[in-house]
């Protein structure tokens, strides 16, 4: 039942947005076509902006994996994570997700590239990527701009939230795609 509902959300969210936004625009008297073109112009630049991140992460991970380092690391901490049902492929993503948004997106891309975007691991990586925002970046930027040094409970709570998000992403992916 729950899985059915979630799959329905995945199936319908995008088509409904593609219908709903232009419809809403027309109702509000927006020139939807011109407006779409205007916005779409920025897409190329935005996509190009992730190229350096993809190159940096894809190649560093290629070295890390082809040399056997990843297998070594996952064989040491992998069994511990396997106890709670987390595949070892997620380790690099868990490490980088709170530090760099584009970096983590690139790690997700690498996992999907090697495991296949429609494999369980590939979908799980995508879910983990979307499960939280870049905690350290957000905390540093937002408090830094007004020079607040004592951030009280924010960082530990945010990291617990990240872990909750990761765990939910893993569990829900397994339930839906496993």
């Amino acid at each position: 039942m729950f899985a059915y509902l979630l799959n329905a959300i995945s199936r319908w969210a995008f088509p409904l947005i593609l219908l709903g936004i232009p419809l809403f625009g027309i109702i509000r008297g927006v020139k939807v076509y011109d407006c779409f073109i205007e916005g779409a112009k920025e897409g190329f630049g935005l996509a190009l902006r992730i190229l350096p991140y993809l190159v940096a992460i894809f190649s560093a991970l290629a070295v890390f994996k082809a040399s056997g380092m990843l297998t070594f690391i996952t064989s040491t901490i992998g069994p511990m994570l396997a106890q709670v049902g987390i595949p070892p492929e997620m380790i690099p993503l868990f490490m980088i997700r709170p530090l760099s948004g584009s970096g983590a997106l690139a790690v997700t891309g690498d996992i999907m590239r090697t495991a296949g975007p429609d494999s369980l691991i590939g979908k799980m990586a995508a879910a983990v990527q979307g499960s939280t925002d870049t905690t350290f970046y957000v905390v540093t930027l937002y408090f830094g701009c007004i020079k607040i040094r004592n951030t009280r409970h924010v960082l530990p709570v945010a990291l617990v939230g990240d872990m909750a998000g990761f765990f939910t992403a893993v569990v829900v992916s397994k339930a839906l795609f496993g």
Binding site: I17, F24, G25, A62, S67, V154, S173
Partner: protein, 235 residues
Amino acid sequence: MDAVWFFLLASGMLTAILTGKVELVTGSTLQAANAAVETTFGFVGVMCLWLGMLKIAEEAGLVNILSKLVRPLARWLFPDVPPLHPGVGAAILNIVTNVLGMGSAATPLGLEAMKRFQETNERPDVATDAMCTFVLLNTAGLTLMPASIIGLRVALGSTEPTAIVAPVLAASGVATFVVLALDWLIRKTKPSNIIPLKNKHLNLTDRSSRRPSGLVPTLRPHTGNGTATRGNGGM
């Protein structure tokens, strides 16, 4: 990130040298760099489609409408700040733009909210309750439509690129719930003691009486443009 990246590269390369796999590693590294370019180009189409849609939503005033709808939540999220405080307006706009995936619009609004919250902070180096809740909401990052992830999946040849929408919504929803619950618990058990209540009250009433209009900032990046198109559309 410097340390992580260097660790991935250096530890991998050292292992490769020690185990004699240098050629294999070099080959796959160069291939990976090339794959990054292919992936980027496969990503362009979805990003264009999504940004085009967001532009229509922005022009039609979707952000302002949604902000009005979620505004009642502010009283509950930021109980120590009066609901008409300008910081709250910016914070709500930031949350709505973030949930819609308009990252580039969200960040300036978030910084604006922090600056407004700071104006009524008696101890400017310590975070207030509202700041903590607001930053935590941002770190949890509730997401309705993860466009960049979908784009990446399309680029890598997925046959069901949007299959991950619901897991992302569920996971970011749980993360948001967890941070809000912990934040609430901590505030209940350890009241901030930062600002004496009387002072805080005085300060805020003072401010709101001084700024009767302009209390609620709205997102109007294309006001002139928007009215023009609306007029043309009606013709």
